[in-house]
Assembly symmetry: C2
Amino acid sequence: MKRTPLDTMNCSIARTLDIVGEWWTLLIVRDVFMGIRRFEQIREDLGISKKVLTDRLNTLVERGILKKVPVERGFEEYRLTKKGIALHDVLVAVRQWGDEWEAPNGAPIELVHECGHVTHARLVCDCCGEEVTAHSVKPQPGPGAKKKTSSRR
Amino acid sequence: MKRTPLDTMNCSIARTLDIVGEWWTLLIVRDVFMGIRRFEQIREDLGISKKVLTDRLNTLVERGILKKVPVERGFEEYRLTKKGIALHDVLVAVRQWGDEWEAPNGAPIELVHECGHVTHARLVCDCCGEEVTAHSVKPQPGPGAKKKTSSRR
């Protein structure tokens, strides 16, 4: 299927999906978060071809999400940049939705918070601390909204 | 590209991406959240072919994320199910990452919380209320972990 450039839409969701919306990309980021950082390790873990993995890793490096770092004996590792680490919230949200709706045997992985308990993260407002849900927020045009009326946001 | 079935991996991230990891799928869900609910409205907003949109909408209905509801004059609308509404956290996390890292002119859309302020949602632990970050959580096998050791999680 021909890919339509989502980054031309003036929408932060579309722009993000343009980078990480491909099936493998977010799984590669997940692997690096889990400490799987070398090309062959990632390839083995995901079971994908060298060509696809090379392509996805190059995109992630170009877009500033991963960086390649030389380690001992001529090996190289992929590490998360600050922009890559910022994807943690996305991974947590995606994982929790899957745990709730697509994991008939229960969560394959749990996250233990530094408070010592298995955590289910909640989204709260940075202003009042109350929950952010579909019913508690309303969208409005932001500073980056297009001047002319456009249905794409 | 031939699609590899991600839902065979015992990982809630992979299973979620198997459903919503396709470029258009999450944008369709976004549109329905924003009140764009009819086939022609969604098609016009996203600028995609009837064939692709029909395919994606059918998948979303089959997987229980959207439901088709008859409205006046023989029209039909797509509405979010409970499972679909639960994707709100994913959309908020994706939007915020895009606003921070891929929106050079600022956020195209802001979310106003019911407290009256533009919100930047934070992920907090449901147990202690402190922030959930890449550095404050550690993964451990959950109830749905495979018995035998597997590197796919």
